[in-house]
C-alpha cells in the first residue's frame, strides 16, 4: 500500500512555481498494478522518482512499507566504462546479494537481454536499445514489491517488446508494477488501476479503462 498525504511538489522556473502536485491525497491499495497517465510535463516521471525516493515532495509525505525498484527510465544509468557484466555485478552488490545470487542474476540477465558478446564489452559501445534491454532484465531479476517502469517497454524491436511484456506479465504475479506509458494497449493489458495527472491534481481510478477515458477527454479538451 502506498499513501500520499498532502503531497505538494513544484519546480521553480523563471515564471514562478510550476506545480506538479498540489495537496494531493491518494491511497494506492496493495496488490494493484497501476498505470500512470498524463500529458507531457504533467509529472509522471517526477511521481515515479518520488516513489523511488530520489525526488522529494516540497510538502507532505509519501508513506509505504514496501520496497521499490529504482525508476527504470529510457536513460538508464550504467557506468559507461565498465562492461555490462561488471555493471550488473555492481548493482547486485549494491543490493547486498551474495556470490551465488550474483552469479544466477548475471546468467539470467545475460540470457534475457540477448546481448551475447556485447555483455562483456563496455556500456559505452551499446546502443540505447541494448542499454534498456540490460536494465530491464536486471530489474526483473530482483524481488521488489513494486517495479517502477517509465516508458522502458516501448524500446527494442517488436519481437523483444513482446518478450519483455510477457516477462513482465510473469513477474507481476509475484510483485506489483507502477507503469508510465503512452501506449494504452500495454497499460490496459498490465494494469488494473490508473492514476491521471493533470494540472497539479492526481485522480485515482480503480479501473484502468476509466483512467484511459478521462485521459483521452483531457487530451481532447486541450486540443480544442
Amino acid at each position: 500500500m502506498i499513501e500520499l498525504h498532502n503531497v505538494t511538489k513544484y519546480f521553480k522556473s523563471n515564471r514562478g512555481r510550476k506545480y506538479i502536485m498540489r495537496n494531493v491525497n491518494l491511497t494506492i491499495p496493495s496488490g494493484v498494478n497501476v498505470g500512470i497517465l498524463g500529458r507531457n510535463g504533467a509529472g509522471k516521471s517526477t511521481m515515479m522518482r518520488m516513489l523511488g525516493q530520489i525526488e522529494f515532495p516540497n510538502k507532505g509525505k509519501i508513506i509505504s512499507s514496501n520496497s521499490f525498484s529504482w525508476p527504470l527510465a529510457l536513460s538508464t544509468s550504467f557506468v559507461p566504462g565498465m562492461t555490462g557484466r561488471a555493471n550488473v555485478k555492481f548493482v547486485c552488490k549494491l543490493y547486498g546479494k551474495n556470490d551465488a545470487e550474483v552469479k544466477s542474476i548475471i546468467e539470467y540477465v545475460k540470457e534475457f537481454s540477448e546481448l551475447n558478446n556485447y555483455f562483456d564489452m563496455p556500456i559505452s559501445s551499446y546502443s540505447s536499445g541494448m542499454r534498456s534491454r540490460l536494465s530491464f532484465g536486471l530489474s526483473l531479476s530482483f524481488d521488489f514489491d513494486y517495479l517502477l517502469i517509465d516508458e522502458t517497454l516501448s524500446t527494442g524491436d517488436t519481437r523483444f517488446k513482446g518478450k519483455a511484456t510477457k516477462a513482465l506479465q510473469e513477474k507481476i504475479e509475484k510483485c506489483n508494477v507502477l507503469l508510465v506509458g503512452h501506449q494504452m494497449k500495454i497499460l490496459q493489458d498490465i494494469c488494473h488501476a490508473g492514476i491521471v495527472l493533470n494540472d497539479g491534481n492526481a485522480y485515482y481510478f480503480d479501473n484502468i479503462n476509466d483512467a484511459v477515458n478521462v485521459y483521452e477527454d483531457i487530451n481532447k479538451s486541450k486540443e480544442n
Binding site: W70, V79, M82, A86, K93, L94, G96, D143
Partner: protein, 263 residues
C-alpha cells in the same frame, strides 16, 4: 524483498563503490594496475632527482629522498581526494537512482580508495628504500600514523565542502586546482620549514597543510621536531571544515540527489 539493516546496507554501498572506483582506475588500458602505482612513483622520483641534483643530497641532516617521498605521498593523497570531489556529485549523478546510495558515500569511498593506493605506494617505497639501504627508522610510528589519519579526516572535510560548493558553482573546481597548487608549494614538502627565514615561515604557517607535513616529518625523523606545529590550528581547521561540510550537506542532500540547483 528481504529487509536489511542500515549498517549492512551502508557497508554494501561503500564496498561496492570502492570496488567500482578501483575497477575504473585499473581498467584504463592493459597496464592499469601498473600505471596506478608507477605514475606517482615516477613523479616522486623525478622530483627527488631534481632536488638532489640542484641542492645536494641533504641539509638539516635529513635524508632528502625519504623526506620528499613522505611529503609527496601524503600530499598526493590529499590532492587526489580533494580534486576528485569537485566532480563527485555531478559525475556520480547516475548512481543516485539507487536510493541507498547517498551523495556523501561517493566521497567516503574515494577516501578509502586513496588510502588504499597510498598504502600500497608506501609499501613499494619502503621495499625500494630497504633494497637501496636508506635509513628508514621512524622516531615515533604511532604519532606518524596519527598524523596521517588526521590528514585523512582533514582531506575528507575539505573534499566535502569542495563537493558542495562545486555543486552550485561549476567553475569552482578551477579555483580548487589553483588553491591546491598554492598549497603544494607552501607546504614544506621539498624543503624543511626550519631552513627558511623566520618571516617567510610565519606566512607558510597559515597553510594548514604545512602543519600536517611538519607533524609527519617531525615524528618521522630523529633530527626534526614539531616545534612549528600548532595542533590547535590544525584542530580548528579540521573541525570548522567538517562541521560546515556536514551541516551544509544535511541541508542540501535532497537537492543534490534530485539535482535541484535552484537557490
Amino acid at each position: 524483498m528481504k529487509k536489511r539493516n542500515p549498517f549492512t546496507i551502508y557497508r554494501a554501498v561503500i564496498s561496492t563503490l570502492v570496488l567500482r572506483e578501483l575497477n575504473i582506475r585499473f581498467s584504463s588500458g592493459t597496464l592499469g594496475y601498473f600505471w596506478a602505482f608507477f605514475e606517482p612513483f615516477l613523479q616522486i622520483l623525478t622530483l627527488i632527482v631534481i632536488k638532489v641534483a640542484i641542492f645536494g643530497r641533504s641539509d638539516d641532516d635529513v635524508d632528502f629522498a625519504v623526506y620528499l617521498a613522505l611529503g609527496f605521498i601524503s600530499f598526493n593523497m590529499f590532492r587526489h581526494i580533494v580534486s576528485s570531489s569537485a566532480n563527485a556529485f555531478k559525475g556520480n549523478r547516475g548512481l543516485f537512482i539507487y536510493r541507498q546510495v547517498r551523495p556523501i558515500d561517493t566521497i567516503v569511498s574515494k577516501v578509502f580508495v586513496e588510502l588504499f593506493i597510498s598504502s600500497i605506494i608506501l609499501v613499494i617505497f619502503t621495499a625500494i628504500g630497504i633494497y637501496f639501504g636508506f635509513d628508514l627508522n621512524v622516531k615515533n610510528t604511532g604519532m606518524v600514523f596519527l598524523a596521517y589519519i588526521w590528514l585523512v579526516i582533514f582531506s575528507f572535510s575539505f573534499a566535502l565542502c569542495v563537493a558542495i560548493i562545486s555543486f552550485y558553482f561549476i567553475n569552482f573546481k578551477k579555483i580548487v586546482s589553483l588553491l591546491i597548487r598554492v598549497m603544494f608549494f607552501t607546504s614544506a614538502i621539498f624543503y624543511t620549514l626550519h631552513s627558511l627565514p623566520a618571516e617567510l615561515r610565519e606566512y607558510l604557517l597559515y597553510n594548514p597543510m604545512t602543519h600536517f607535513m611538519e607533524m609527519i616529518h617531525g615524528y618521522y625523523f630523529y633530527t626534526l621536531d614539531d616545534r612549528y606545529v600548532s595542533y590547535n590550528y590544525m584542530a580548528i581547521w579540521t573541525v570548522a571544515l567538517l562541521y560546515s561540510g556536514l551541516w551544509l550537506y544535511r541541508m542540501l542532500e535532497k537537492r543534490i540527489i534530485s539535482n535541484d540547483r535552484t537557490p
